[in-house]
């Protein structure tokens, strides 16, 4: 065994979790995946066609060479014969030449277009055998492409191997052209967590590390690398020890993921058959993929503030519409609960808030702000109503503290719909309207509010802050922020009881909903839907599946006799400790 140069660890940003080990494949220099498109002058067209024909002939000669060497009885040879015939097939060869001539474009681009059309035709086929034939077409095309671009000959075994892409950066167009079936993972010099590469990697569930800065200057083609998407590092030329260690970690991670995903996609149904929707909270459209991966039944809270940050003007209706539409379309038919602009104390807009509030939590925020800035509000409402034609949308008004606010908000929504009607733009007014219950006055007035909405969504973070008069950011009192305070539990129960009586739905989208040991309580109270950080979805679903709703109702009665948060917590531990320890075990494995 030759001695191997010392391993190098390069630190970057984790863009997609998972571990992969494999050979580096430099996309920018030696790869043939990226195809340029350029125009060919009329006088040069015949030369371009000749160039194409020459590439095909070269591929043909190569295939014949391989065929000659292959023993006749080999099955493999039949495939090569088919490939040989495909090279001159009218639908491939003929069409490429036609495309070059008709569109005045280079041979590479013509080939790419023809192939992607053919692939589509084959992929729509029902027969699995025929469906797979697109792979033959692609292999033949790759051969021609390689000869067109003059790239180095890659042996067939290497083509079949899956590689790790190494690039400075990948533009959306480039990422789309890469044959993803062959890619184990991505690593790039540039980019951040929300970069296109990262998003694609997450949606394909393959590991990715971005922002490595020096990946392309250190890593050569065919170098052995380990990509650890969990901790955001890349190990170049790992030692045998490291390799073994990572092989194990990879297996562990994949097992863990298999368990999680297998369970998370299944509905959350209690032992006695009560189904709960377990939803995700998101802020960026890109988070939708993670949410679906974790098995989210929909979006329970889509925070819309992000588009308003770090800019001096307000985003326009069309810009907002595009963002909402993306999310709504991908989620369809699952519900997307869009919360209208909730600017709050700690997230004040840079230039739009040109005065300081001494007490922002009690200041001009959320619905109060929107009602005071009707134009800003109207743009958002119109964007939401337009996006609602693409899927299942609900609208949620934040910080409702009086009946007047919900009435005004609804009136403005109607006005927005009327104005869209006048402009002749497609919209959908037939959506569910909800009020955030996060202010004590809304809890007390729940019966009145319920008459005007289709659902309540309890925002526990603010409700606890306002009810117990605790600023979580203040270290002196933060420990008093207790979701299990009997006052909070009684409030939750009151809101849920009113909702049931008024026959509207009751959801929860605060942090409380994503904490496993709160689940028995929330089930007893009668929540219809819980929404949380996407990562918490699998655990919460698992807890729900191990509970009996009828039991949690009688458990709630006992909880209501408690006088402190501490004794309530002890009661939960004593009653449901076994379920929670199982959950803790899985938490431990994740690390």
């Amino acid at each position: 065994m030759k001695s191997i140069a010392e391993e190098i660890i390069i630190k970057g940003i984790s863009a997609s979790p998972g571990i992969c080990i494999g050979k580096a494949y430099r996309v920018d220099r030696e790869g043939v995946e990226i195809v340029e498109k350029y125009k060919i002058q009329a006088k040069d067209l015949s030369n371009e066609v000749k160039r194409f024909k020459a590439a095909v002939k070269k591929s043909r000669d190569e295939l014949l060479g391989i065929l000659e060497k292959s023993p006749e009885e080999l099955q493999h040879a039949h495939i090569l014969e088919t490939h040989l015939a495909l090279l001159k097939d009218k639908m491939l060869y003929g069409r490429c030449i036609e495309t070059i001539k008709q569109e005045n474009i280079n041979a590479e681009w013509a080939l790419k277009t023809v192939i992607s059309n053919l692939r589509e035709v084959f992929q729509t086929m029902i027969d699995p055998y025929l469906k797979e034939r697109s792979a033959d077409v692609v292999q033949v095309a790759d051969n021609i492409m390689r000869n067109l671009t003059g790239a180095k000959q890659v042996n067939i075994a290497a083509i079949k191997k899956r590689v790790i892409l190494v690039a400075q950066d990948l533009s959306p167009a480039e990422t789309c052209q890469i044959n993803l079936e062959r890619v184990k993972g991505f690593i790039t010099d540039r980019g951040g967590k929300a970069s296109h590469t990262g998003i694609i990697a997450r949606s394909l569930e393959i590991p990715a590390v971005v922002g490595l800065k020096e990946a392309t200057s250190t890593i050569r083609n065919d170098d052995l690398i380990i990509v650890d998407g969990n901790s955001g590092i890349v190990i170049l030329r790992p030692t045998e020890n490291t390799l073994l260690q990572y092989e194990e970690r990879k297996i562990d991670y994949e097992e863990y993921k298999a368990v999680i995903t297998r369970d998370s996609k299944a509905p959350a149904e209690s032992l006695d058959g009560v189904r709960l929707s377990v939803m995700g909270n998101i802020e960026l459209p890109e988070e939708v993929f993670a949410l679906l991966n974790y098995g989210g039944d929909g979006i329970g809270l889509y925070r819309t503030e992000f588009q308003y940050f770090n800019r001096t003007d307000f985003p326009g209706e069309d810009e907002l519409f595009d963002k909402y539409k993306d999310v709504v379309e991908v989620m369809h038919p699952k519900p997307v609960t869009i919360r209208t602009l909730d600017i709050n104390g700690d997230k004040a807009l840079t230039n739009q808030f040109n005065y300081e509030e001494t007490n922002p939590a009690l200041g001009l925020r959320a619905i109060r702000y929107c009602l005071k800035k009707p134009q800003v509000f109207k743009d958002q409402l119109r964007a939401i109503l337009r996006a609602a034609t693409f899927g299942n949308v609900r609208i949620l008004f934040p910080m409702i503290s009086t009946y007047f606010e919900i009435r005004e908000a609804t009136r403005m929504l109607d006005q927005a719909a009327e104005s869209l009607e006048k402009n002749g733009l497609p919209y959908n007014r037939d959506i569910e309207i909800g009020a955030m219950i996060e202010v004590p006055s809304a809890v007390i007035m729940a019966d009145v509010l319920a008459e005007n909405v289709d659902f309540f969504s309890i925002g526990t973070n603010d409700l606890i802050q306002y009810s117990l008069a605790i600023d979580r950011g203040n270290e002196q009192v933060a420990h008093l922020f207790q979701p299990l305070d009997p006052a909070i539990i009684r409030m939750l129960k009151h809101v849920a009881d009113v909702a049931r009586e008024k026959e509207i739905k009751i959801f929860m989208c605060g942090e409380m909903a994503g904490t496993p040991h709160h689940v028995p309580l929330l089930l007893g109270i009668g929540m219809d839907e819980l929404s949380m950080n996407p990562q918490s979805i699998p655990d919460i679903k698992r807890v729900i599946r191990s509970l009996n709703v009828a039991d949690t109702r009688s458990f709630l009665k006992e909880v209501l006799t408690q006088t402190t948060a501490k004794s309530t917590f002890e009661l939960i531990k004593a009653t449901y400790g076994s379920i929670l320890s199982e959950q803790m075990y899985s938490e431990g494995r994740k690390k």
Partner: protein, 98 residues
């Protein structure tokens, strides 16, 4: 449309296990490539150019499919007969081929 009983067309049934897959399509295309005029394969309302493997594959003919082979020029009658024989003979596939 030409009458299917005319000397220009023949109706056949795909008898081999795998249907018209790439290898069998390649055999048909090899024959059709020697024709003077176009040769078509018809299945239901769709038709494919018999000289293109890919086009034949898009017909998605599994075992038992009924197809019509049609030539446009009488001079290609030999080829029509050869393709018919090929299809009816099940492309001489080994029985155990999966």
């Amino acid at each position: 449309m030409i009458d299917s009983n005319s000397e220009l067309s023949r109706e056949v049934i795909i008898v081999n296990e795998l249907g018209l897959h790439a290898r069998s399509a390649a055999k048909i295309a090899a024959l059709a490539n020697h024709s003077k005029a176009s040769i078509w394969l018809k299945k239901g309302k769709e038709r494919a150019d018999a000289s293109s493997i890919l086009d034949i594959l898009t017909l998605a003919c599994e075992k038992g499919s009924k197809i019509t082979i049609r030539i446009e020029n009488k001079a290609d009658a030999d080829i029509l007969a050869a393709i018919t024989e090929l299809v009816e003979g099940g492309f001489k596939e080994p029985a155990d081929l999966k």
